[in-house]
Symmetry: C2
């Protein structure tokens, strides 16, 4: 993965420069939270995908670096507003912007972050500016739609698996797909290849989210980095819970409904009981099958791209590291 | 003003189309608040300025209409977030988005509105796309800075007139200036002329805001459309209050401080007392002088533009109608 480290180093150094710049810009109340958010790190997968896609089609990292950083800034903008809307206290184990400062600062500094994202995406060569912006605009709008659906489903009792997949596609997969497509366009890939790469990103994005859903329940704490069962405790509508609701019958269904409705409960007992229900319904296997379906569909889309297979190796290897946490 | 009506009709019909489109787009929780906000109307000065500026330099309304609408959508995005941050119950005599729906919907639907604004601004001919986006990006960022300064100054006891003018410039004037500059660029105006038109817009924007400050205290309710004295009751840091704080001495200063600090008071008495202080310090005259200074500076910038004076007549006439409410 020497190639990936080289790109990651370039991304990290550019993000550090931006963080310093933001940290010194007045008014501090507006720009410091931006510097803070960018300094929290994260895997920075999206800019990496932009540049990997560009290089895959023979493009130059230096021509893709600013749009790539722009997409990372956009992603961070969504995290600040999402954390505020979800009232989350922590992000990457640090206080969220609305907790460290206040709600108004979380609203406004993230707004400024979105404009900054556009400023960076606009640093695209003139021959690709319009098409890159078109992908960025439509992706950004879909991310908002996904977050809205996620909030809608929180209070809705009946969410189908199809609705759930559509929601996670909008909320997380399309930005990965859009990153790849933008990278391809920057390198002058033909529209058909760019479309296939987008489909690859969408499918992989869904597979990653399904993996997250599975890991929350069946992941080992050491590898996953989080206490397992958090989704269960919070009644979070994951693929696993929705599938269980769909399949459970008679007393199993009653038991499931009882746990979901319970306002006071022993957390460990609830996690144990729900996992027993999942196991009795083979939910883990079904979720893994679903995840693998999207994973394979993604690889199928990648195969269709009209470049030599050796050029696709880095991307496949990278996706495998992301999927490798369990499989 | 036949010319202006023609442009206004075009703007209104395009905004109506967009409103219908947004009103029918799923998810409704995201897009309906956008339709609602756009349907509340307003003077729609910014898109008018874009098109007037374009036509002034021989440009075509049809080439400017979408960026013009984009700027109006951006302005409406700022109103939704500003109203939320200020916790305002009403906008144009109707419930604000966060009151009619909720805070999360106000955050997210306005985010989507900002993306929509960019989508519309991107409907710019390729030869001007980059420069139009550069103006739009920097203006959008300045508007965020202005709102941040406005929030900072609310809780700060010492705000200088210079700081105040800079704040209103960022918060309101630069978007008027940016609208004019974008119109000029769309019509292929030379950079020097575009710069002068921007300066015209900045100066006029500051003059308008100073006029608003004056009208809140000295306007006739019938003409102004609002109950006068609202700024006084709320201790809003207007040019008038800041100038009075600057000039007041000894017992007048004490009296002023007392009213500002009072948490319980008779509103009418406070308004009357503050106006007496203003009158004793000739605050109205000073504010009018300041306003006229910016108004004249604006006209001076317009004069420098290298086109025939007859082409500037519509813009001058329009600005006069905006200033005509009292003068």
């Amino acid at each position: 993965m020497k190639n990936i480290s080289r790109i990651q180093n370039r991304i990290n150094s550019e993000l550090e420069k931006l963080t310093v710049l933001m940290g010194n810009q007045p008014p501090a109340e507006l720009y410091e939270p931006i510097a803070y958010t960018l300094s929290l790190g994260g895997k920075r997968i999206r800019p990496l995908l932009v540049i990997m896609a560009a290089e895959m089609f023979g493009g130059d990292m230096e021509e893709a670096i600013y749009p790539a950083i722009g997409i990372e800034v956009f992603h961070n903008f969504t995290l600040v507003h999402d954390d505020l809307m979800d009232n989350s206290p922590l992000r990457r184990n640090q206080p969220t912007v609305h907790r460290k400062w206040n709600k108004n600062i979380a609203i406004l500094s993230a707004d400024a972050m979105m404009v900054k994202a556009y400023e960076l995406v606009c640093k695209t060569g003139s021959s690709h500016l319009r098409e890159v912006l078109a992908v960025f605009n439509s992706t950004a709008l879909q991310v908002c739609e996904g977050q809205q659906l996620d909030m809608n489903y929180e209070t809705s009792l009946q969410v189908s698996i199809d609705q759930y997949i559509r929601m996670i596609n909008l909320k997380t997969a399309v930005l990965l797909a859009g990153s790849l497509k933008i990278g391809a366009l920057l390198a002058g890939a033909n529209p058909e290849d760019a479309k296939c790469l987008y489909a690859f990103g969408e499918n992989m994005g869904i597979a990653f989210q399904l993996q997250d859903d599975i890991l929350d329940v069946y992941g080992e704490k050491e590898k996953f980095g989080k206490e397992p069962g958090r989704d269960i405790v919070a009644n979070k509508k994951t693929y696993l819970l929705l599938k269980a609701i769909e399949l459970a019958q008679a007393e199993v269904s009653e038991e499931l409904t009882k746990w979901i409705a319970a306002s006071q409960f022993d957390e460990q007992k609830k996690v144990k009981a729900i996992i027993e229900i999942y196991d009795s319904l083979c939910i883990r296997q079904l979720a893994e099958q679903e995840m693998m379906k999207y994973y394979r569909q993604g690889l199928g889309s990648l195969e269709k791209i009209s470049i030599g297979p050796e050029k696709k190796q880095d991307l496949i290897a990278f996706v495998q590291t992301l999927m490798h946490r369990v499989y």
